[in-house]
């Protein structure tokens, strides 16, 4: 069996999310070093606040300000911080009920060691230097002895653009207006492995051979193979060389340039049934003006030096294929 092919795969999105009025007030508050909660239908103060009651799901809007000190309700010692987590040095995860709140907020607690942390310990917020209106405006919690007992106080949810607190901060934190959205970057790293059938296909492509796989039940040849015949639900395991030439079964004309793709528009993208294949693959057609490409056009792959797959397909000059010869593959 040939060696397993693998390749790094990065999935990365900057998620842009809009906020409801309660979330907006909360995150605007964090930017101004103020923590807001919302009063639930049963009178509890929910922090971090939600747009709806956690029990009844009814809409809730009554904002209150709570303290920036609080009590740890549970914790877990994280000796090996992972990428993206609030602190790069060992820390405790903690659920903290801020003074005046009835529910707990999850964040990191910067403490010298597991032995220094316990449920019931008193902590306070350490604010991030640069605040943008995000949960990470709280850098973390830190141990802090103080008396609990602060009561929640009513809050309008509005913050003056230049209140004294923000004025004292850097310009970045004095950004005008309420926070109405967040951009949350997310990146996950994978090691992609294509599996048996596709590995065989990719390994053959190194030698510029196109190897499909035949279904043992219906005898169809799939190029590229996906490991299973989607009609019969059985593994394809007989390798069959297809092409290299093929027939354009259908095509479209691309008029809008794709980002990061250095191809002049308009160009033709086509379904190509390689000779001996029962499923069309798709590729770009070159070497012919875009408005002369047609169904039935006979094409051959064009390789560039060092490439692991054909760059595009060009006309072979053969007569066009008869419609009946490819009509089942459209």
């Amino acid at each position: 069996m040939p060696e397993v092919l693998t390749a790094p795969l990065v999935v990365e999105f900057p998620f842009t999310r809009s906020l409801g009025p309660v979330q907006s007030a909360f995150l605007t508050g964090l930017r101004a070093r103020t923590v807001l909660g919302v009063r639930a239908s049963d009178g509890r103060v929910v922090v971090p606040p939600t747009e709806y009651d956690p029990v009844t799901a009814e809409e809730i809007r009554e904002l209150v300000e709570v303290g920036t000190t609080g009590t740890v309700t549970t914790w877990a010692w994280n000796a090996r911080p992972r990428p993206g987590q609030p602190l790069g040095t060992p820390f405790a995860w903690a659920l903290v009920t801020l003074d005046g709140a009835d529910t707990a907020l999850l964040h990191a607690l910067d403490a010298p060691g597991a032995e220094s942390v316990h449920s019931g310990m008193r902590v306070r917020i350490r604010w991030a230097e640069e605040r943008t209106g995000a949960i990470t405006d709280i850098a973390c919690f830190e141990p802090y002895d103080s008396e609990p007992g602060r009561q929640p106080t009513a809050h309008s949810g509005e913050f003056a653009d230049t209140d004294t607190e923000t004025n004292a901060d850097t310009d970045a934190n004095a950004d005008a207006g309420p926070v109405t959205g967040i951009i949350a970057p997310a990146r996950l790293d994978y090691t992609y492995a294509p599996g048996r059938a596709q590995s065989r296909y990719l390994n053959a492509l190194v030698d510029r051979r196109t190897v499909g796989e035949r279904c043992p039940a219906c005898r169809k040849v799939y190029v590229p193979p996906r490991g299973a015949c989607p009609t019969c639900g059985v593994a394809t395991d007989e390798q069959v060389e297809a092409g290299p030439n093929g027939t354009v079964t259908t095509f479209c004309i691309v008029n809008i340039k794709a980002r990061n793709l250095d191809i002049e528009v308009p160009y033709v993208y086509a379904h190509i049934a390689l000779d001996g294949a029962d499923l069309a693959l798709h590729a770009r057609i070159g070497g012919i003006p875009y408005d002369q490409v047609r169904m039935g056009l006979r094409v051959a792959p064009v390789w560039t030096e060092g490439a692991r797959f054909p760059d595009h397909y060009r006309p072979t000059g053969e007569p066009d294929a008869d419609y009946d010869s490819y009509k089942e593959l459209i």
Binding site: L9, W93, T103, S199
Partner: protein
């Protein structure tokens, strides 16, 4: 209401990696096995439903590729949930109850090895207040474990006992990934040690559901679904009491779990501490055999591990080793969402 039963179950031998297999290549043998058990062909199936998540392997629309393994031509009646396969089973059960189908194939797969599962699972969390902090799955379970320890509901020794029992039981399960005695190891996130945490697994599972006489024709001793319900709790961890699982309790009540004692319970508790919570929620006493398969602590293919609990419980009824079994599946952090099924065999077990 129609009687519906689980009539067949199959699963992969779960493993830490499966680099040589695509998802459909991993899944297909399980689909063939479960169909072979009943003699059904794809064309005979009234409904097909699957559970999986593209985030695990980072492959967009992977469930459409997985469907190749079913053989979906001529077109089949098909659905998919981005959840554990236990919820796909729930959908299939409802479909059969409506009378729109007599049989259903339910399958689930999870290939966690291509990514960093602990990080991947952070992407299911509240995107505003929690996900930006990247709290990994072990960290969240550890917060729950500490809350239990603080409440006097368990301690590290008792948790180690859960781990040891699970691994000992897994020795009799050829599909388990881990089995036999092992040291608890260092803290991963304190108070949870290596032995309190599930392995990272690649694997798949499938079951076949059938109604009434069809079930009797396909299986000598069908595992009848007497009740099935799922419930969810508030999504903010700080709103919940992490030492309790009211959603499990409610689902169990609605499924009729407390009407009569069960002899067996397959609990989807990926962390030792979660078994403590579930035992209390389900009021299981020491007479109940808990996780004879070894449970998710010995093989945890995410998205399939809950369906496997239903399959394992059903298989014990098929084999005559249980008359009445509870099966439980969970989803989300710290047992956020829970499904409970009550399964019974007819006649007394041999």
């Amino acid at each position: 209401m129609r009687d519906v039963a689980i009539v067949a179950f199959a699963q992969t031998a779960h493993s830490r990696t499966s680099d040589e297999l695509s998802e459909v290549e991993m899944l297909m043998p399980v689909l063939h096995e479960v169909l072979d058990r009943t003699g059904l062909k794809t064309a005979d199936l009234g409904f097909v439903c699957s559970g999986s998540s593209d985030y695990l392997a980072g492959r967009a629309f992977s469930f459409t590729m997985a469907l190749d393994g079913v053989g979906a031509w001529p077109p089949v009646s098909e659905s998919h949930v981005e959840m554990d396969g236990a919820w796909a089973l729930y959908e299939a059960w409802v479909k059969i109850l409506t009378g729109e189908a007599d049989t259903a194939l339910v399958y689930a797969y999870g290939k966690s090895s291509p990514g960093e599962l602990r990080d991947v699972l952070t992407r299911q969390l509240d995107p505003y207040y929690v996900a930006p902090l990247w709290p990994d799955s072990v960290a969240l379970a550890a917060l729950q474990a500490q809350a239990l320890i603080d409440a006097g509901a368990t301690d590290e020794r008792a948790l180690a006992g859960v781990a040891a029992r699970s691994r000992t039981d897994a020795a009799a399960n050829p599909y388990a990934q881990l089995s036999g005695p092992a040291p608890m190891g260092d803290y991963v996130v304190r108070p949870l040690r290596r032995g309190d945490c599930p392995p990272v697994s690649d694997g798949a599972a499938a079951v076949i559901l059938a109604a009434g006489d069809t079930a009797r024709a396909l299986c000598a001793r069908p595992a009848w679904i007497r009740g099935l319900d799922h419930r969810i709790e508030a999504h903010s961890l700080g709103v919940r009491d992490l030492t309790e699982s009211p959603s499990t309790r409610l689902a169990a009540e609605r499924a009729g779990a407390f009407a009569r004692p069960a002899d067996t319970a397959e609990l989807h508790a990926p962390f030792t501490s979660q078994e403590v919570v579930l035992r209390r929620a389900l009021r299981l006493d020491d007479d109940v055999t808990v996780n004879p398969s070894g449970g998710a602590l010995t093989a945890n293919p995410v998205m399939a591990a809950g369906l496997i609990r239903l399959g394992e419980a059903a298989a014990r009824i098929h084999r005559g080793e249980s008359d009445r079994a509870l099966a439980h599946a969970t989803s989300g952090p710290c047992l956020q969402q829970n499904l409970v099924a009550v399964l019974e065999g007819e006649g007394h077990a041999a």
